[in-house]
């Protein structure tokens, strides 16, 4: 058992804030690192100490293994928490950390290597008897081999990156002639995203559901699951809305899928928090997709229904402690939904939106949790992942949770950039989502179609609002001209006159 006293948070944004919060509550000192442009970020503001990362602005700084390890040593940290993304699943990073005598808050290096190589993971899981999606269990190089593999698996197929997930380095291929371009595209995207261009082939399931299981394991051999999460509202394999429990699982299916997740965790001797992802098709079959050997973005929905703080568990496990609960003690109560607020314009193909956040007012009230990594004045650029914040609603039933989420989405105010907020409002109001009748095709098949119509309805309100503003500005200018035209008052009254004029016109309108 090694008590951890200082943790270096090797991340940024909302997850860095999340980790710092857990540290503070545990009496652990949190050390933040930041790129040049993140110097004023919320995660830096709330940490105990912070250090700048050299190098160019942007993600690159957060990927510098040597610098981060050196900062961890220099700042006398006894642990590093990698968050998600960046170096969280990088076995070389974990190894460099451990070699410096610092604890890596995550699974052992060997597990990262095994599960991080998607083809090796498939081979290992196959040995457990858990169903794996049809495909090849090794990287494929030549176009001719791709053709053979695709024919064997049967079109449509998915070309995927062996070194990573998250939708990067992926291409759907429906026929042989699409193969060459898809291979080139996937390879280059995989290379730039993971530094490893190896790709393989899997069967592509049409519009499956994406269901994942949260697992927690300590270094004493205890492995438990904390239930599943349904993540089918996604776009280009990027999740936008998640919930627990899943509307698609009957009790027997839930039992099978959680047992399968435990089998996978046991097979790779997992330690710490992890998630086993499955695809679930219309024939009620589920297949192992991959294992994410880190904390996930959507972990709050599991925390909401179980009452277990996953980040604190991660830290305790890293200290060598046993899990704070047994499987029997894990209780799931109520229903939780999470909506991710991305800086993307849902009415322009979810194009990234950049700019300064001119206004940010959180949604609060009963059953609402907000994990946010930005604030008013934060500059949103294309250099980082566009996730701004997550909104989580917990209530007794799914129906109530949806109503609560909708309420919060209409309450939250984010000005200056486009966000996925209106898209999430649309989903909460959609009969198919409310009725639990949805899968991963929802965004493309439903929202894309409705987006235009939605615009028409609100555009009248927007037009009226704009004409109100125009009239209001006109009347203000007339008032000011009237004032300026009269006697110029001197002394204190002149000062108060300037102040009141400024408040009325507002500098922002000039």
């Amino acid at each position: 058992m090694k008590r951890i006293r200082r943790i270096l948070v090797a991340n940024r944004g909302e997850i860095a804030v999340r980790i710092v919060r857990a540290c503070r509550e545990m009496g652990i000192e949190a050390v933040a690192v930041h790129s040049r442009d993140d110097v004023r970020s919320p995660h830096v503001q709330i940490a105990h100490e912070s250090y700048p990362l050299g190098g160019a602005p942007g993600s690159v700084s957060y990927l510098d293994i040597d610098e981060i390890v050196s900062l961890a040593r220099h700042s006398r940290c006894d642990a590093v928490h990698p968050g998600y993304g960046f170096l969280a699943e990088n076995a070389d990073f974990a190894e460099a950390v451990e070699r410096s005598g610092i604890v890596f808050v995550g699974p052992p290096v060997k597990v990262l290597r095994d599960m991080g190589d998607k083809t090796r993971a498939r081979r290992m899981v196959r040995e457990t008897g858990v169903p794996v999606i049809a495909g090849v269990d090794h990287a494929v190089d030549m176009v001719s081999d791709f053709r053979k593999a695709a024919r064997k698996v049967g079109f449509p197929v998915l070309i995927k990156a062996a070194a990573g997930g998250g939708g990067k380095g992926m291409r759907i291929v429906r026929s042989e002639d699409e193969l060459p371009e898809a291979i080139t595209g996937a390879r280059s995207e995989a290379s730039s995203a993971f530094g490893d261009g190896r790709i393989y082939v899997e069967k592509y399931l049409e519009s499956p559901c994406h269901i994942e299981v949260q697992v927690l394991a300590d270094s004493h051999g205890n492995v438990i699951h904390l239930g599943e999460r349904e993540c089918s509202i996604q776009r280009r394999h990027q999740k936008i809305i998640e919930e627990t429990p899943s509307v698609h699982l009957s009790p027997p299916l839930r039992k099978s899928i959680t047992e399968a997740a435990l089998a996978v965790a046991n097979k790779c001797r997992y330690v710490n928090a992890g998630t086993v992802e499955f695809l679930y098709d219309r024939k009620s079959e589920f297949y192992f997709l991959e294992m994410n050997t880190r904390l996930q973005v959507e972990h709050p929905v599991t925390e909401a229904v179980t009452g277990i703080d996953l980040v604190k568990e991660q830290i305790r496990i890293a200290e060598g402690e046993r899990l704070s609960v047994t499987q029997e003690q894990v209780q799931s109560r109520g229903h939780a939904i999470e909506c991710r607020i991305y800086a993307e314009d849902p009415f322009n193909s979810f194009f990234p939106s950049t700019g300064t956040i001119t206004r940010y007012r959180s949604a609060l009230g009963p059953g609402i949790r907000e994990d946010c990594g930005v604030e008013e004045g934060t500059e949103i650029t294309i250099h980082y992942d566009p996730l701004l914040a997550k909104l989580i609603a917990l209530s007794a039933s799914r129906e109530d949770a949806i109503a609560r989420m909708r309420r919060a989405l209409e309450e939250i105010q984010v000005g200056g950039i486009e966000t996925t907020i209106p898209f999430c409002i649309y989903v909460m109001g959609h009969p198919d989502f409310r009725g639990g009748k949805y899968d991963t095709s929802f965004v493309e098949s439903k929202f894309a179609v409705d987006a235009k119509r939605l615009g028409r309805e609100m555009s009248v309100v927007a037009g009226i609002a704009a004409s109100c503003v125009a009239r209001w500005r006109k009347s203000r200018r007339a008032v000011n001209r009237g004032r300026a035209g009269g006697r110029a008052p001197k002394g204190p009254s002149a000062r108060s006159d300037w102040r009141s004029r400024r408040m009325e016109t507002g500098d922002w309108l000039e």
Binding site: K168, G185, E189, S192, A193, R236, F347, N348, S349, F351, P352, T354, T358, R359, I382, H383, D385, P386, L409, E410, I412, Q413, V414, G415, G416, E418, T419, I421, P422, I425, G455, R456, M458, S459, V460, V461, A462, G463, I464, A465, A466, S467, C468, V469, A470, R471, W472, K474, G506, D507, W508, L509
Partner: protein, 170 residues
């Protein structure tokens, strides 16, 4: 009392203010009240329904209005200005030509159209690689492709013109 014309995209709403708290738009009558709350934040009440409106002004006659998270770029003119042929700001169109610009810096990895191609709203024009993903730049309006300024492999900055479209309904 006063007429205003609010243009959003290809729609123009004629807003007829009967009194300072009543107006009609598109044949519908609305009772209305409008209160400033804070810098750039207003409360709009339309037929007793409340809307919190964020206004992010960009020009003399054009402003970005945000309602329920969704933003609208509105060009507002009062009747007088419109009658004397007020200028259209915020849209770079001369004689019905629209420049398609890079929304962010990136690398052009594909140009899907050629000079003279007819495109529809939603047609993919250029593929831009940025943020480690490939982003499709699509046409917002129907038009004919002209002035293709980039080719595969070109690095572009935010705001750079990629190509122009001769709009079909200028």
């Amino acid at each position: 009392m006063a007429k205003y014309f609010a243009t959003i995209g290809t729609d123009t709403h004629e807003i007829d203010w009967r009194t300072s708290d009543e107006l009609t738009v598109g044949g519908n009558r609305y009772s209305i009240s409008f209160e400033p709350i804070a810098d750039g934040v207003f409360m709009l009440k339309l037929n007793a329904r409340n809307y919190r409106v964020l206004v992010e002004a960009i020009g003399q006659e054009t402003m970005i209005v945000r309602v329920l998270g969704r933003s609208f770029t509105v060009h507002v003119q009062d009747e007088l200005v419109r009658r004397i042929g007020g200028e259209s700001l915020g849209v770079s169109s001369t004689l019905g030509r629209k420049d398609v610009r890079a929304p962010m810096p990136g690398l052009v990895v594909g140009v899907r159209v050629r000079e003279g191609d007819q495109v529809q709203p939603g047609s993919t024009l250029v593929i831009l690689e940025a943020m480690k993903m490939e982003n499709e730049i699509r046409a917002v309006e129907a038009g004919t492709v002209t002035n293709v300024r980039v080719k595969k492999g070109a690095a572009v900055d935010k705001g750079d013109v990629l190509l122009s479209l001769q709009l079909r309904n200028p």
